[in-house]
Symmetry: C4
Subunit: 332 residues, 4 copies
Amino acid sequence: MNIIKTNKKLKSIGVLLSMFGIVACGQPESSKMANTKKLEPQQSKKNRHWPNGAQLVISFSMQFETGGQPDGAESPFSGKPLPKETPDMPANSWFRYGAKEGIYRMLKLWEKHGIHVTSHVVGEAAIKYPEVAKAIARGGHEIEAHGISWSDQWNMTYEEEYEFIKKGIDTVEAITGKRGRGYNANWLRRGPNTLKVLQDLNFLYHIDDLSRDEPFVTLVRGEKFVVIPYTLRNNDIVNIEGKNWSPDQFLAQLKAEFDQLYLEGASQRRMMSVSLHDRIGGAPGIVKVVDQFIEYAKSHQDVVFMRKDEIAEMVIDDPNTLIDPSEMEYNK
Amino acid sequence: MNIIKTNKKLKSIGVLLSMFGIVACGQPESSKMANTKKLEPQQSKKNRHWPNGAQLVISFSMQFETGGQPDGAESPFSGKPLPKETPDMPANSWFRYGAKEGIYRMLKLWEKHGIHVTSHVVGEAAIKYPEVAKAIARGGHEIEAHGISWSDQWNMTYEEEYEFIKKGIDTVEAITGKRGRGYNANWLRRGPNTLKVLQDLNFLYHIDDLSRDEPFVTLVRGEKFVVIPYTLRNNDIVNIEGKNWSPDQFLAQLKAEFDQLYLEGASQRRMMSVSLHDRIGGAPGIVKVVDQFIEYAKSHQDVVFMRKDEIAEMVIDDPNTLIDPSEMEYNK
Amino acid sequence: MNIIKTNKKLKSIGVLLSMFGIVACGQPESSKMANTKKLEPQQSKKNRHWPNGAQLVISFSMQFETGGQPDGAESPFSGKPLPKETPDMPANSWFRYGAKEGIYRMLKLWEKHGIHVTSHVVGEAAIKYPEVAKAIARGGHEIEAHGISWSDQWNMTYEEEYEFIKKGIDTVEAITGKRGRGYNANWLRRGPNTLKVLQDLNFLYHIDDLSRDEPFVTLVRGEKFVVIPYTLRNNDIVNIEGKNWSPDQFLAQLKAEFDQLYLEGASQRRMMSVSLHDRIGGAPGIVKVVDQFIEYAKSHQDVVFMRKDEIAEMVIDDPNTLIDPSEMEYNK
Amino acid sequence: MNIIKTNKKLKSIGVLLSMFGIVACGQPESSKMANTKKLEPQQSKKNRHWPNGAQLVISFSMQFETGGQPDGAESPFSGKPLPKETPDMPANSWFRYGAKEGIYRMLKLWEKHGIHVTSHVVGEAAIKYPEVAKAIARGGHEIEAHGISWSDQWNMTYEEEYEFIKKGIDTVEAITGKRGRGYNANWLRRGPNTLKVLQDLNFLYHIDDLSRDEPFVTLVRGEKFVVIPYTLRNNDIVNIEGKNWSPDQFLAQLKAEFDQLYLEGASQRRMMSVSLHDRIGGAPGIVKVVDQFIEYAKSHQDVVFMRKDEIAEMVIDDPNTLIDPSEMEYNK
């Protein structure tokens, strides 16, 4: 946890990297995992799978999209769409919940637990609700890019996609002072050019991949680009709205997944991703069970909660990080 | 609780308002929350977020719609519709359950717990089953407007909508002696004119908004109009029939939501809304778990169950009530 | 329970009726509810809502339909239908499960608990699997009519419907020796003529109604006809296959519904209906939880399990039985 | 369990059969069920329903299909398909999970418990990920045929189907050294010729039948062919992805089904089938609950985990094995 708190004090990524370097050399500072049970010296020797000595790294995603939704965007009302010129008043109020209640409730949860998360911010959401975007940044959370608007990008040309992504990070930076270094495409649907665009815009990583339970490196024109796998399994929009789970089912999923990954973390590098959207995961019942999940995770030794940019920085040059060639055909 | 009981004795809204005024001035009478644990004097000082000193206000909605349904209205049979001239006998009997069993079962539940709820009454349902509408009113529950019939209103002109709503309250008043002062549109789908129509008909509040966990004020032509947010999360038609939850899941949702809102209620104004429809929430298994939920809620201090008209009266002129400009463009 | 066992010994309905008459006069024989806790004399005075002194009557439906299904009948495979001339081999084997395992497993469950149920038998299923139909009859269960085939009947003329139902009872009687006296239409979808047809065929009752939690009488051409309400709430095909419940959810539903109805049974006549289909409810996991439910129900006093023909005989002339005019327009 | 380990050492089916013969003669070696509680001598007399003295045989299926999926194959993304020429990057990464994480995680689970399973291997999956196919074979698991590609076969001519299946087993044998002797069609949808093709290719059994809870024999052109019934009830793709169950629901289903079948196993031959797909059942939360299920099953006496080829060999000539004529019309 203190890794994250320390981050806030350090401005320079170089310093940050060297700090992780030290950690990777086998001297994890126990104070860096203040939120979970202390790392015993002899145990730290067993847990060498992460540079920082963690047995499991957990990273939360918090989507801030409300206000950026197009007409007819997926909601409890979108199954029976209204004519185009008619405002869908209750649907709009359902989305608005994310800005009025959801994000603030989650920010309090992260603060209570001393956790910093990655917030995927749609440009137009930040324009509509700048006070929300600023509150996220002020909380020490990562402001990550999610496009200027809530739209498909898999069908764009290289140039269109470049503009789409660049306008998003420029816009959000102007509001929050933070420039996104990681990317999340609408419904994960990047196209074959997306990683090249991200590389050209100096991005560090993307999350639109579901193939592993640990971060890895893919080569884009021969250069390293980090992939921090996303999750549909620990994902509120998929499970709560899509699969119709009640909060207790979501908690059961989180605990079962945690138990297995934590066990595996004793012998390999493991990461758990959890995703929460402003208007869904920000509801009282979901925040309640996420709170319970965090308490549960913290009751285990060597569990570390991290922002995705921190994870990417930590693993990009680590020799134990996997290099996965699966998408080489697109990224030459 | 006694707030509600007292209401029954007092005919005048003026008296009622002044009573809330007193409460708002910081002298909550502990006897007013007879159903939950007593308010300790020192704790009452902390809970100043509601004028009546509550830590959480819970309001139940009980829709009485059966008998007003059009052919093909949503039911377990509507997925395979019959030709227009053919009566759908089992579907009709499924709806009839609301009038024959559902409402009466819920009325007994409210009576057992000394709770008064808000009943959204479709005009044609009251015409078809006047004895049911009268039983609701006789129980001390709020008779709230839900249109003359079970139909879309977002596509009406101002004049049509005015007639639609007025005919509803006139009709239900003629049957029950109570005139609705709050409004609930079919599937929450009001149109851009709805609030103006409601204002012109001297309504006090509407519920077709999902954006907050507390009541707020919106300005309609510059005048205050109360919004008591509705819920899709604690809603039987959404979860039991739509999301296919079993009763234990509904209970898990209610408890998780309660836990979080109650916690938050220590430091801000919080309200929990629960919605039950005659033919769905009136089923034995759902009433059983709602009973369990009420017991659970009552085991916490300073939980108050209220009708929505009481809430609206209590907050409309309270200085701590939020004024939300989100829909200003429609309500000028 | 012994009520049912006694039934088997008594051939005459007159004798049966007078027996119930005696029970209704306040002398319930405790031996008649051998499967639940004994009726204490003083308690029997409180429970006068049923002629037999029960606090709750539970009736199971066991559909035997396998082998009668038309091509493309609802199954896990019917979502992607095959061309008409192609046999759907796995779908057929899925249905066959009902005849090979499902019914026999349920028969063992009823025998273990000394319960007699109502089996809704499709004529063509009995033709295809006569040994199954005979085993049901041999177990002392009611053979109830479910049409000659698995087809819509709401769109038939009076004459077609008469033939359809008559052929069903003639066929099943020829195989099992039992003539159906109660009726269940495919998907409950009777038409406006159905009750008249049933009356002309000397039926005693039908189940295709969902409007109440107790049997009642409807008048068909001025004559009494019993309605034993069916259930979609405690129904395997609706919940297990339709709503995708796991067995523990089905058990939760059964227990929640039981708890509420049993409570209500202290002050009014209450009945609980449970429905199980050969190929669904006959699966191991469902039988397991139904077994647990029966154990749970039996641990309560004055719970009686009955066939629907027994219930109909018991209530048709009882003065406390409701007469419901809701469908008078069709049954003149 | 040791039955399976012993299998690996014995190359000859003759020897294997005679071993089962001995077991069938009443001398089950307790060491053969090392993973469950020991068989007491007097109990072995009661459990004569299986030749090896088991009270319940459990067989896991592990589908290895990833990499063989066609464009648009069922995934969380297939509901909104992309144009044909557009690669679905996140869907592809979702499938890839099966090869990168899912199979390996399950292999570790089987190894931990000393269980050998039946792996249904699509030819093209083995071509794409030969290292995965080899790892499965190396673990002592059965390599069973699942077609050369992930395609419909119910619409093929005899010759096409012969080629389709033969190419699959030839291909997988070339990679793993193991030739499939059992068959599983895509979505269980074999055609009327399938069993004849399998017979002509010297297959021993197929699994595309859901009609019983024990293996049986069907006659194909008068010769015995074993059917090891498959399951949709204990099936990850049906329940987790199709029915949207959370892991705890899947565990509840497995336990309820086990309890009932185990009970029945005292008086008849019973088998439980469980099915897990690489990219679904290989997820952490599912493996966690399957692990818990195996622990639960093992805490019962005389539970044996077997590969399907072992089961087929054990029952094909056993006199207690059912011969089922249901599909005679197709198999003459």
